[in-house]
Chain length 403, copies 2
Amino acid sequence: MSRSAIRESLKITGQPGLISFSGGWPHPESFPVRELQEINRDILQNSAAFCLQYCPTEGLPELRKQLLLFSNELGLKVREEELLVTSGSQQALDLLSRVFIDPGDLVVTENPSFVSAIAAFRGSGARFLPAAMDTQGLVPEELSASLEELQKTAGGSSDYAQNMPKFIYTIPDFQNPTGLTLSVKRRTGLLEIAERFDLLVVEDIPYRWLRYRGKHLPLLGADSRPGRVIKIFSLSKIMAPGLRIAWIIGERSIIDKLVAVKQAADLCTGSFTQLMAAEFLRRGFFQPAVKRISALYRGKMQAMLETLQERMPALPGLQWTVPQGGVFIWLTLPAGMDSSEMLREAVERQIAYVPGTAFFPTGGGTNNLRLNFTFPTERQIRDGIVRLARVVRGHARRPVRLA
Amino acid sequence: MSRSAIRESLKITGQPGLISFSGGWPHPESFPVRELQEINRDILQNSAAFCLQYCPTEGLPELRKQLLLFSNELGLKVREEELLVTSGSQQALDLLSRVFIDPGDLVVTENPSFVSAIAAFRGSGARFLPAAMDTQGLVPEELSASLEELQKTAGGSSDYAQNMPKFIYTIPDFQNPTGLTLSVKRRTGLLEIAERFDLLVVEDIPYRWLRYRGKHLPLLGADSRPGRVIKIFSLSKIMAPGLRIAWIIGERSIIDKLVAVKQAADLCTGSFTQLMAAEFLRRGFFQPAVKRISALYRGKMQAMLETLQERMPALPGLQWTVPQGGVFIWLTLPAGMDSSEMLREAVERQIAYVPGTAFFPTGGGTNNLRLNFTFPTERQIRDGIVRLARVVRGHARRPVRLA
């Protein structure tokens, strides 16, 4: 395993003067500092005996209670034994890999997909069946055709389970890296495919509450009890990533296996930040934070989209996604251009992004790049996109009129 | 994988009225609450922008700096790139397993050894070469003989590395579960074996500062640069386990691999609790905490040893270890007695412990049990051991005079 492209890009991020569109980092202004001060004062005063102690692998009871309430409010029918607290969503992905993936097993991922999910699956030896996307997200018809093809080659029924993918991994809301959202019709289509081919779906939900336009679309299989769909929620984008609090919702038999693996992986997630999260939810800080943070990021996304529109050269094939929320915009350069090569020039101009190839498990993305708009300030976004437009223009090696 | 004996025992611990000798939990009185209140107030005031943010997989720079200073003060010659922060020592064990152990690989563990280390190694498919112990800890001569035997069967040089153990796992100070300490001579002997057979040593150091009598013995290979010995340190017992802060020291090439695996495992340990730990060390809170906590636990250990001495029946073979520190005493019942069977009667009398079998990776320990003396109060220890003595007496099924 080699250190990932994102991680190396994040190192560049530390350089003074550099405008980074690389990470998926929240802006520090989004952190609910006043609320956390209040919570920390109280829990160290009143609950030190248990918030500094070990806790059950499944999670601190106080947090599990709040997460069940939270799930119920979302309309999910979840029982206590169907929920597991994890040390960030990354651990959820790792635990799922370790429970479900044996070397050589197939998993379906959107193409492109989240680089650290790919890394976690690959760490368990996964092979990938990439599912094509368009502006409505993953295309069920194409996935269905690939699965039928697989089914044919899977041969007899004994090989079936072994040859079919272990699960379909999807980020339906404001996908990483594209920022695209799976349409309602496609959500239904995806679930139908999962039913038809008897596949599990892993629904990763890190950005759902960062919606800047339009209405929430239904969670996958939200009207049925956990079974077909395993859900990963996270507090990293609304509360703070430095607390590492996420949770998995799934069928009891699956949660039991995940708990056993988590126990050997880190014994338990820290009680202290779990109690911070529990109190954050219990005191009703979640929804006000969503409002405040969405307002902050809405303007940033708008600034990036506007500046892209104003400054990007009119090159054939050059385009970008227009998300309804989340933290990323996905840029496609004209065919033949190489975003990895271009990164050197970008860094010289003091801007950074993640080249597209990192997000394609089986190759591709040479002419793509991912832009984050939550971490930089609005001013940095405008300046940075102006610089990026110049780099693109220069790299396209075409005679263009300077703006 | 099944849920471990310890974890199930911990569930029993929740019962009101029950005196638990099961976990390895610190007593809440040991938590440096006042210091943490001061630290938390300051870091949320001054450092929210980075202590709530993502941080590098290697660890928060502020904590890494303090851990290097800490290591230097121990006399270790450690460089920055030889250190990795982990989410508790359990994660360190898991990462080491994932980097070093392929299914079927051998690892050497003390016999008995830490149940969750065994679980982590087993999770990667390890087989075990158990190393016999006596009251001076692991017996180098016996380990050496086993390794020679292995070497013979390993055959040609190409099979050598594959057939020999991937590492020797040891807890030299106040071992879990026995409470025993590896003598100075044996430390040298163990390192000589590691050199001779070209094996890595993993030195787990969770309890070192909980020393109630005698002087610190040298860390393994403390006078040489990291290479032969990988060290795992933890702040769980001196600061608080609910913060999940530990760290690994090892050769750069090893740390690099561990970092890559950790990145996919949980991206990074929480920045927030890392900054708490950094400030705890920077403000000089570590040594005063060691003094205060050692005083607290010294009395508890004494109370347990005294009550064992006063109340345990004089049965042939019944004995217990007399540790110089740590958190456990290890009890051996007369041959033929079964501590797992006896646990039911113990729980009826409202006491709990961990049966010995959990700690023997290849079988054994039927007549052993582990007793923790840090979590219960001194009063509970005295009452609990009185009850335990009655249970042992009853279970021995001998006519005895009641006290």
